[in-house]
């Protein structure tokens, strides 16, 4: 279940168009009375939460409760992503240890919410990048991989050949792309690198970068 803590009802209605119902989202007030009992309160009220979407300026009934304490509370109690949204925020993914979370513009979040919930329903897992980038979240992952590989070959000429050491680095970067929808294409890229180098068929920097660009072009 996704829990949405939004105290701007008008904004919610404006973006979601009247009554918004989805079996996997609940709109609830956060009415924990005592910050010291936050973890227990969360465990008993939101045990089924897979992610929390929390207005960054949410006004809690208890003034001792802050956004940070709620965020920490959910992470400590359930180890789930807590996405903060706000009208003034730019949208950014945030990596906190193993957890991917985000700070996100409220307009962007509401626009991508349906698609995010549908994806969660289909795959049974929350995909925070989908909430941030919508359907371009895969492109974001590929661009990330591309940028990292570019940084790695920053001081190489186009016709330099990729070495075995380079290969290990590049494959390591590519393994960070774990999205199910990309895994086939990433595997193909990895196999192509492996096979060519195993067969002493050299890969130049330019060829590698072109291959990556071709892969990305599929996802525009």
């Amino acid at each position: 279940m996704i829990y949405l803590f939004e105290d701007r009802e008008e904004r919610k209605r404006q973006f979601l168009g009247g009554e918004f119902n989805h079996s996997l989202i609940q709109h609830k007030p956060f009415d924990c009375a005592d910050s010291k009992e936050m973890v227990d309160y969360i465990k008993s009220n939101y045990r089924d939460a897979a992610a929390v979407l929390l207005h960054k300026s949410y006004e809690f009934g208890n003034k001792g409760i802050t956004i940070d304490s709620v965020k920490n509370g959910f992470q400590n109690a359930l180890n789930i992503p807590v996405v903060l949204f706000s009208g003034g925020s730019n949208s950014n993914l945030i990596r906190e240890g193993e957890t991917i979370t985000a700070e996100i513009n409220s307009g962007v979040m509401y626009r991508n919410l349906t698609c995010f919930l549908d994806d969660y329903q289909t795959n049974g897992e929350v995909c925070i990048p989908l909430l941030v980038y919508g359907k371009n979240y895969r492109l974001n992952q590929l661009l990330e991989m591309q940028a990292k590989i570019y940084s790695y070959v920053f001081d190489r000429k186009e016709n330099d050949e990729i070495t075995q050491t380079d290969k290990r680095h590049i494959l390591k970067i590519s393994r960070a792309v774990t999205d199910n929808g990309l895994i086939d294409d990433i595997s193909k890229l990895q196999n192509w690198i492996e096979e060519r180098l195993t067969n002493n068929n050299p890969i130049t920097v330019l060829l590698l970068l072109n291959q990556i660009q071709n892969l990305i072009n599929k996802y525009q």
């Binding site: 003034g88 409220s106 962007v108 591309q146 660009q213």
Partner: protein, 581 residues
């Protein structure tokens, strides 16, 4: 000389530096992201007289690659350079994709069409080659072309209304201060970080005016600003704008942590303490206000009602960042000042028009500052009239007349006649009072003044003479121009005038020796002058009339003369004897 900087968000500043040194690019300084976004660094490179070459990766944070955060930073620098007219610079975007792909993916790819912007692969070889190519190039700029191209980048407005509202505030403060040459107004650094704000500064040139001194306020009085954005620069702006004219105070800085009800109470308290002539009032003072559709439910609207209930004479000018401000007209404000929304700055005269409107609106309201002083007197008069209950069932009508007098006074800036109409409207209450049968009772030949238990015979033996429309009476008061005194004599008139009746009241009800009290003869003459020749009325005339009315409607001033000071009341038999045969 050229200075080279490359921006990096990753922890590879040292390694980048090593690579650049190895490649002979030793003059290139690698700047960490943290340092690059610091205002001191930005200010320093802008004021630097050397040519600047900034190399900025299109993607600074690979985890958020699709946001192209590097392009946003590059644009922000570009806007800084354009707004400060620094022309010897070059921005090189370092991309990790084909330029054609960059055009497809990045929302701001048309930035590449701007002069002094290039796109290179993020690799040391093309960088070295390009830097060698531009080493001897002298940068100059066609600003018109540059701004046209920059406009085509079409930087997005902030998505939220609240953020847009903040930007309109900052934008107005920035533009208006520049226009007036006010230099002590600090724009919040938080807003300066918004790309959109910098973009606006770059595409709209400043509009200083040669005669800005004429736009300041010079009318005396007191102005209070109620605005949650007051700390963002409005206080400093208004303080300078008021100059040596009106006093100025503000409230709003502390609103952020208050509930709407607390904000309303604090504002009301401040109004009562400061007692301003003019309140400049923003209507959206709490975050909840950004969700409210009914304008009358806004925190500012409720403050408006409270202030008007406290003193209707305080002029309230609605100060709004929303061009939907016309929805608030049910508030019947005394003026509207629209903050300068960036959308409207397209018209290059718009800033000056805004400031002229600000000046004219405030000056107009300051000229009405007497209303703030008069209103408590109007309220006091209504209270006295109500307490006295002279008018019985007609009391509400009289109170309405007094309200109308105030409304006419409020309109007197439009035409001075309204002040005279207001005077007449108040005078009418006196006329109605002395016209009551419970005050003066008249028979064919006599006039009595009634005090609730006794009848004072004031005029008697009324007689109509041949060839005259006047009636001739024996009177307990005598006219010794320009007023009546307590002395028996005669009185002849076509009808019993208000001047006579009020004079009798002063002498008999209030125990005065003559009616030359509280400027009554002057007030009566003013009334006649207005009615017959349209005489001009001044504020002090209204105040003088009000003071007179306080006296006669205040029961505590009553000091009835002895009944023997009037004519003895004749018995029924005596009256019958006198009847004409």
């Amino acid at each position: 000389m050229k200075k080279y900087y490359i921006l990096s968000k990753t922890a590879t500043v040292e390694s980048y530096q090593g690579i650049f040194n190895n490649f002979g690019l030793i003059d290139t300084e690698i700047v960490s992201y943290v340092r690059a976004v610091n205002h001191v660094f930005v200010d320093n490179i802008i004021s630097d007289k050397d040519s600047l070459i900034l190399l900025i990766p299109t993607i600074l944070d690979p985890f958020n690659a699709y946001s192209y955060d590097g392009v946003e930073y590059a644009l922000k620098y570009y806007c800084h350079f354009v707004s400060t007219k620094k022309e010897d610079f070059q921005i090189i975007l370092l991309g990790s994709e084909e330029e054609s792909a960059f055009w497809k993916h990045c929302d701001y790819s048309s930035f590449l069409k701007c002069p002094h912007v290039s796109y290179l692969k993020n690799n040391v070889y093309p960088i070295k080659e390009y830097l060698a190519h531009i080493e001897s190039v002298v940068f100059d700029m066609d600003w018109t072309f540059c701004i046209e191209r920059l406009k085509q980048v079409n930087v997005k407005k902030p998505a939220s209304y609240k953020t847009h509202h903040s930007i309109t505030n900052e934008w107005s403060i920035y533009r208006w201060s520049k226009c007036l040459g006010i230099t002590n107004v600090e724009i919040q650094k938080e807003i300066e970080d918004f790309l959109y704000f910098n973009y606006l500064k770059a595409i709209y040139s400043e509009t200083g005016t040669e005669h800005s001194e004429l736009l300041y306020l010079f009318e005396k009085g007191k102005i209070l600003l109620i605005d949650d954005e007051v700390g963002k620069g409005w206080h400093s702006f208004f303080k300078s704008f008021c100059g040596r004219g009106p006093s100025f105070s503000s409230i709003g800085d502390s609103f952020k942590n208050l509930t709407p009800e607390e904000i309303i109470n604090n504002a009301e308290q401040k109004v009562k303490e400061y007692n301003p002539d003019v309140v400049v009032l923003d209507l959206r003072l709490h975050d909840d206000d950004f969700e409210i559709k009914d304008p009358m439910q806004l925190t500012g609207s409720k403050i408006f009602e409270r202030i008007k209930a406290y003193n209707k004479g305080i002029q309230i000018v609605v100060f709004s960042a929303s061009n939907k401000v016309w929805n608030y007209l049910p508030l019947a404000s005394d003026g509207v000042i629209l903050k300068e929304s960036p959308d409207l700055s397209v018209n290059e005269n718009y800033t000056q028009e805004c400031i002229k409107n600000l000046r004219d609106t405030l000056m107009n309201c300051l000229k009405k500052s007497y209303l703030r002083k008069i209103y408590p007197k109007i309220e006091k008069l209504k209270k006295l009239v109500k307490q006295s209950d002279y008018f019985g069932d007609e009391t509400d009508v009289m109170l309405g007349n007094i309200d109308v007098a105030f409304d006419l006074l409020a309109k007197s800036e439009e035409a001075n006649e309204y002040k005279a109409y207001s005077f007449l409207q108040l005078f009418l209450v006196i006329e109605k009072y002395v016209g009551l049968e419970s005050v003066f009772d008249k028979t064919d030949t006599s006039v009595y003044l009634y005090n609730g238990s006794n009848r004072y015979l004031i005029l008697k033996d009324g007689e109509q003479k041949e060839n005259s429309k006047d009636t001739y009476y024996q009177s307990v008061v005598t006219f010794e121009p320009p007023y009546f005194i307590f002395k028996r004599g005669s009185y002849n008139a076509r009808f019993i005038e208000t001047f006579f009746k009020v004079s009798v009241l002063l002498i008999f009800k209030f125990g005065k020796s003559s009616s030359n009290e509280l400027n009554w003869p002057i007030l009566n003459k003013k009334r006649n002058d207005i009615a017959h020749s349209g005489a001009e009325i001044k504020d002090k005339d209204i105040e003088c009339l009000l003071d007179f009315m306080f006296f006669i409607f205040d029961e505590s001033n009553t000091c009835w003369r002895d009944i023997k000071d009037a004519f003895p009341v004749e018995s029924l038999e005596e009256q019958i004897i006198k009847l004409p045969e």
